[in-house]
Subunit: 311 residues, 5 copies
């Protein structure tokens, strides 16, 4: 793949994106990219942290999903690149699936009860926990642009250094959030997502998890120039975000459940834009077992067919 | 027991709930579940932390109860699974009862003097204190949904890691609290208790202490969907909460004194819902010695007769 | 002595209050209780921390008292159980009196300049300082019920653990304080003092320093039940407070200067209630040398004559 | 060069400015001053931290600049004294250019999303990171005069001590910022820049990065005397700022893109005032490759021709 | 000297004030008191921290003073007891004067840009820095009575313990400050200065730096009794402040420039009151070289002639 931003002479991919990573990170990332999941350099993650982030209300759509074994078994049997969850579930459920699916230990989380004006996601897990559990990556939610960004950057800095110490890949959930971003086009704006992608890379992410930017000509006028002045297609917007993340791999986040066509369309878009995969939670496990297997199959196929960048 | 949520094929109990725990935790939990108290996999705790949480006013109902020896002797002689208290009492009174009843060292506490809008319970004890005192578990109060949840999660994360380091079971008092939960149905709502149960498990609880959810069709409309839209019986609500805690054991908290029938009824409910026991303080030690012994007997019998899950 | 609260069968004193303490604590406490001061299990402390807490204004009543040597010499020559002061004075003046009177190193303090709505007394001394200086106890001011109680409990927890590490007795100045206690009857109310006594014990005090509760039927209605509903005599109130402190020894704090009869009356009251002694500063050193010696004599006599509990 | 402030007898340069530095700092600074870039004791830095500080919006002017390889290749091939960036980019892109251009690892950063009323730039990188990456200096943004200056000074103190420990030169981005400086003439006033230069030196900077002071007779009246009362030329103002930094070297910061004549004029001014060089980002890399090379050539020539102080 | 407060039998000076200090502190203090400066037990310090505390505006009165070499050379050649400055200047300028004049390393500082309602001076230097630089004392600014006093006391506690660890004398700049002191007579009131002197001593100062108390019968009514009720002469006020500092030595601070007669008069006053010397900055280095030498000579003479206490 040749990225279209910049002159040909500055092709971004003169060598593997993993070439500048330490051996521990490369070893673990190769497991995610090639040995598990759809493989061939793609990523397909199952997140099960909604119990903390939203509460059990997300499980009512599919009562079986309340039992963490549902997601663990799904991740292992349907062939995911990894399952992402916090320490409590990793310690009590992952032992039964150890080695069957890679673990991405999510280190920080918050409940949705307090407002997110000053969002901050505190760490209760550590990179050392991840090493002990046999995880192949850690996850960190960064609330880009929050009034609490100082605390967030400092906390992330500690996690990043521990990742370097142990050769542990760092996945950043890069979420624009807080009262100030709301005044500049909002958390889903192209400006906000593009900014978040870049910040995650510049702070040391190996993989960046992004939401799909939502173009909204009216609200985008509140964003800084040139976002407020230029017109972009959805394709251009997502490509820009992927490029902002530079050598960090990008996976697209799903959010609440949408129809299948839209889900697969988004999967195609992120891959064509140079992304490396998707991380879909509710869109998968809010289905019953057989339906879940079916959509998983389609997602994996879409990932493999639309891959444009080999990490 | 087979839990009714989810498909049969995802039975939650393919093996002991303790199977994925480290040996230190299993050793100590077995002491609580089988060697002391009613036994047979049940839990019956006596908490004596009200002196800090409410002040000595709770002792006027039974003046003898002001002397901590009352509760320690009761716990030891009437056969509890454990007595839960803070460091001051554990260090000055537990030596006289060491080995006669297991100790659950409560690590954090607060007075009720300041309002609980931004509730946070600071740690003044440590897991190492618990090890030194010969405790079989530590207790931690988590104020789920409080504006101070970041500080709380970080503090709990440290306790949880120390529990892993020493093989010490972690009991979480999972209490919804703070001004934001008050706007979403309140601290006793099904939504709040269900959320708290899940958060405690996802942050690493081995045992979760819950209050009984109170169904209140009017106030529940302020909770998020589906809590605001569906109708639940008391039985369903408590079962949901227990299931949200997954492989963490659940004990029901008593609160202020109620009549005996209600007390035993609640005990039955929690056990039928898959819970593992109860933790009753004022309902027991606000009685004189002989009355206390009588109700203890009835509670233990109810626990054993209604047990539906073997940990 | 047999305390009157509780059934006879739960006598609080089946053995020495010191029996459950570690050897370092016992060694040092025996020095305070038996080897210095009035002895025979009583405590008589001279505090000289008013220079920080109130400023030098307290010294104008007796200009000689401005020179710390006044208090040190008084404590040594008149035979106190200990002198309580902060690091600056301990390091510069105690060397001249080392071994002549025990030192209680006060670890935290604050000036009275900022309002006490959110009172918090920061530590600038450490238990290790106390060990190095040859102190026999440390002092800590706990502002029970302050909005800053979280910071206070955490700080005290660290001090308490260091006390355990070094076998150093912990004296807690248990002072209700802050805007919230002011709404519930005030800092001197029976409710507040009783609560403070209990909290100090439950957080690990070996000795609790209390102010005399002031009964005020009008204001006490703002306290929680049963304080707002029952009537108590001064004798009952102080006895309740002493009992709330359980196995922690209680000493009565003096406050600003009162007349001699009242001073001795209060001394008698605390001893009859099961207290172990008094800590009088201004009431003693705001007198000239000979007057001070005279009242000291009377206080010591009162302590010995009214002792009801042998620690 | 003889500086004109002060008596001749107090010439500031009786010996090399580097003479009082530790060997590690001298070794690394000589690399920046003599072995790379224009050399001969001058400094020419390329900063690429705008992706965090402003977001990707800065890259639209020259899409090629979005790929960090653009700046790294420019710095290496056009011959800069150093490239300044954060950990994420340094770890993923610098390996390809290691040894071809010195690295200045920027340790702290913030997004522009929250307002800068209480500006603070949190550290997520460390001096140890810089050592490991083979960097020749670290960069730190100090928001002089911010209400958060206490946190800033403390954080900087830690960085400064680590610099001493490892012999790592410390470059301080000395930026007046926050609501209080806005009331005293503003962040670009002579008063503010002069103050910032001095503070950076007094807190331990080896190199101080300054913005050009902007003289504004109307607004300067809000500054303290004598800034509010005297008249200064641009030349005098910048000379004062350089002198305030004492033995710390001064480099001029560029800011948003200006026309070429102004850019070179500013370069000349800082060098004549005793400065050591410039740090221009957008003014260089917002041009296409050949234009960038052309202006770089002119800047380097200007630096060498107008140098007045040999460090 | 015999101090007049207190009975003759409690003479404050039964032995050297240094007798209770550790050997490292005594060694270094003797250097300041006897080997450098006017000697004979007096102290004469030159502070050069105004560049941070006030900004470079203080240097316009004597442009030569902007170059730190001016103050260092003055301190060394005119014979000061010590020069007090922060780390940046100490590390870059002191090497040229090492051994020629003792160094007092100032550990904390703040800019005057933010208001001082909640004044706090953060540490960016450490006692270890001072040891490494060969300093003979450290300086710490304590804002007595500030709403941030908790943070201040804790920070000072750490510095004080490090001073004990390394035998390093501790000089406290004891400055009443903050919105609450402004309501009680203000930062320069006798009440405030007297309080500050005492607090500094009780927190462990070896030397206390005080401003001259300003008697203002109108404003003093806002101070607590007896300050609001009694009348004092300037002589009495300063003597009280010196006595409040007990065995800590007291030096008088100069503040902004005053006429020579007043300067010498203040020097005389502090010495007669039992003080040990002065610390004059702007009053000395805002003069040209020869004028500075002249006034220095007069100050030294005044110090020696009016000395009343031998430390």
């Amino acid at each position: 793949m040749a990225m279209t931003v910049g002159k040909a002479e500055f092709s971004t991919e003169t060598h593997s994106l993993l070439a500048t990573l330490a051996p521990g990170k490369r070893t673990r990332l190769r497991r995610l990219l090639y040995e598990f999941g759809p493989g061939n350099g793609t990523l397909f993650f199952l997140p099960i942290d909604q119990g903390v982030e939203h509460g059990p209300r997300d499980f009512f759509a599919n009562p079986a999903s309340k039992d963490p074994q549902y997601q663990f078994r799904l991740a292992a049997e349907a062939g995911y690149s990894g399952i992402a969850c916090g320490y409590g579930m990793a310690s009590k459920y992952y032992p039964d699936y150890a080695g069957q699916v890679p673990l991405v230990l999510k280190l920080n989380s918050r409940t949705e009860v307090p407002p997110s004006d000053e969002a901050f996601s505190p760490c209760h897990g550590t990179v050392e926990d991840a090493v002990r559990l046999g995880a192949d990556a850690v996850g960190y939610t960064l609330y880009v642009g929050s009034p609490n960004q100082a605390e967030d950057f400092i906390q992330l800095g500690g996690v990043r250094r521990d990742c370097d110490r142990y050769g542990m890949p760092l996945v950043i959930w890069a979420y624009p959030r807080g009262r100030d971003i709301d005044k500049k086009g909002g958390r889903d704006s192209f400006y906000a997502i593009d900014y978040a992608a870049r910040v995650a890379m510049e702070l040391g992410a190996d993989i960046v998890k992004l939401n799909m930017p939502k173009l909204n000509p009216e609200k985008d006028k509140e964003s800084p120039a040139p976002y407020s002045e230029m017109e972009f297609t959805q394709e251009e917007a997502i490509r820009h975000c992927v490029e902002s993340a530079g050598r960090a791999l990008v996976v697209l986040s799903g959010g609440s459940k949408v129809d299948d066509d839209k889900l697969l369309e988004q999967t195609r878009l992120i891959m064509e834009a140079g992304g490396s995969g998707v991380i879909f939670g509710r869109n998968v496990w809010q289905r019953d077992w057989n339906d879940a297997l079916k959509i998983i199959d389609q997602i994996k196929k879409t990932l493999l067919e639309n891959r444009t960048r080999i990490p």
